[in-house]
């Protein structure tokens, strides 16, 4: 939000619209730049159509809400008015995966990547920590592409050192090892990092790549991974259509035969609630599960 505020101060065409959410997060922006801030109330569909209309007049519009509200609730407005018209709107959703786990299935954002990824002209951005959020936000403020920015909740551990990264869509290698490579995105990356650490004690050395952009899964990048006998994808999302699915599609279309073990959230019980840590464990995507699945394959 600080990056957005800084950019908006020097660019009056940057507009922030909230669907009546963001208590404690958007206040400073609203106070300092009231002319660039709009609370459109609890009306996601009109909000998204309105954002597209504003963008058609040269504005760079950031639409902020939580969970599935700025994505699934207004899907057709995104499809027709933002993507098909190529309007300069950034959809920002806070609460990836089970960030709001205790609030119930309505608040579990676990199908959004699949749905957003199927839309034309929409760039999908999946930062893993606040450093990635910062560099991606800087990029988004200077770009005019329609984009979907999937955020966790604030306060997750920092993975990158401060000011150590740039954003050019390429994945970031944050752990180095030769036995397998985990590709992940979002704060779930921390589960991969714990798993890799534990696997080291068992003599299994894992690389970890953070994938901040689906578009960054290029042929060049994936060909670098062909030295690994095993790839693992880990995401806080349904197994259908998410990160793992995107990797598989690309491996196949580029003709790579590397094995991919897809680790994603089990969707068999929708009604269960609990903390993010509890649900990650229950849904088979915590470090414990990652560790066990890699160990079972490699040992």
């Amino acid at each position: 939000m600080q990056s957005l505020l800084a950019a908006a101060k020097s660019d009056p065409n940057i507009i922030l619209i909230t669907g009546d959410l963001g208590y404690g997060v958007i206040d400073q922006f609203a106070e300092e730049l009231p002319k660039q801030f709009i609370n459109s109330g609890i009306s996601e569909q009109a909000m998204m159509g309105m954002a597209a209309g504003m963008a058609s007049q040269g504005k760079r519009v950031f639409v902020y809400s939580i969970g599935n509200f700025p994505t699934l609730r207004c899907l057709e407005q995104i499809r027709n008015d933002v993507c098909a018209m190529n309007n300069s709107v950034v959809i920002v959703s806070v609460g990836a995966g089970y960030s709001y786990g205790s609030q119930g299935y309505t608040h579990h954002a676990i199908e959004d990547i699949a749905v957003m990824r199927s839309l034309p002209n929409l760039e999908i951005l999946l930062p893993s920590d606040s450093e990635e959020v910062r560099v991606i936000t800087e990029y988004l403020c200077s770009s005019r592409n329609p984009a979907y920015l999937r955020l966790g909740k604030d306060g997750e551990p920092l993975i990158h050192s401060p000011n150590s990264i740039k954003f050019d869509r390429s994945p970031y290698k944050v752990v180095d090892g030769d036995d397998c490579a985990i590709l992940t995105a979002g704060s779930i990356a921390n589960e991969a990092i714990s798993a890799a650490r534990n696997l080291t004690t068992k003599g299994i050395y894992t690389s970890i790549f953070l994938v901040p952009s689906i578009e960054g899964l290029t042929k060049a990048f994936l060909s670098e991974l062909s030295s690994f006998s095993l790839l693992v994808s880990l995401e806080e999302h349904s197994p259908v259509g998410g990160l793992g699915s995107a990797i598989l599609e690309r491996l196949n279309s580029f003709g790579f035969s590397t094995r991919l073990e897809l680790i994603a959230a089990d969707q068999s019980d929708l009604s269960v609630v609990g903390s993010q840590a509890y649900l990650r464990d229950l849904k088979g995507i915590s470090s414990k599960h990652v560790e066990a699945r890699i160990e079972a394959i490699l040992s």
Binding site: G49, A52, Q57
Partner: protein, 273 residues
Amino acid sequence: MISDTDVARGVLLAQRARKSILEMTHRAQVSHVASALSVVDILAAIYARPSAPKNHTLNDLDREIVILSKGHSAAALYAVLSELDFFPRDWLAEYCNDSARLGGHVTSKDVPGVELSTGSLGHGLPYGLGVALSRKISNVMSPVVVVISDGECNEGTTWESALIANRFKLDNLIVVIDRNRIQSLDLTENTIPLEPLGEKWKSFGWQVSEIDGHSIAEIQLALETRNTCKVLIANTIKGKGVSFMENSVKWHYKPPTDQELELALLEVLGIED
């Protein structure tokens, strides 16, 4: 101020467009002829005004913006725009063909003069609201005119937009409702009753005017005054201008046969005499 010339220009534009609409829907054998005939006077009246967008103002940031939200009446918009030389008239002859520029619902891609592709109802008003709000912020004065169907008053986004526009007291947004009282399967009042429609808009903070949606002069006059949150309920007849198409649910779907086209053209051209 509107002049007699603007009115006369609108009347002529509507008559020519009616002929095109009949020929287009007949040749392509596609639906929605009656919807197009219902809205065509509204579009002709809008575009015949001196302040309306022209083919040479399409890149002007302060051009008036017209959005046809009821995208199924695309034939009417295309017919009007081609009469005004936004694009060549022979594009109309390809309407709905394989790889035609002009599809059955309003498309903006590579079609000069069309601001927004529509076809799913309830999209035009939020979009137009965003255009108006953006212009307000940037002190661009020219208005946004959004033409919606009465059926679109079933859509939640219509009322969401009505609430939001009132919040921002937009005086650069004009909504025109093509009130032909027929929606897809039945009369609007037999489907989801809208009346008292004007009272509903009033209660949302809008200035409501009821006008004859087939009177070019009344439409142009109503567009002149600048009010906060202005909605024009334009009473229309679905299928207007062709007696056997008027006020009939059937002609929401049915394309004219050769013989029906002939009869319809006689009526439309008869009006011209």
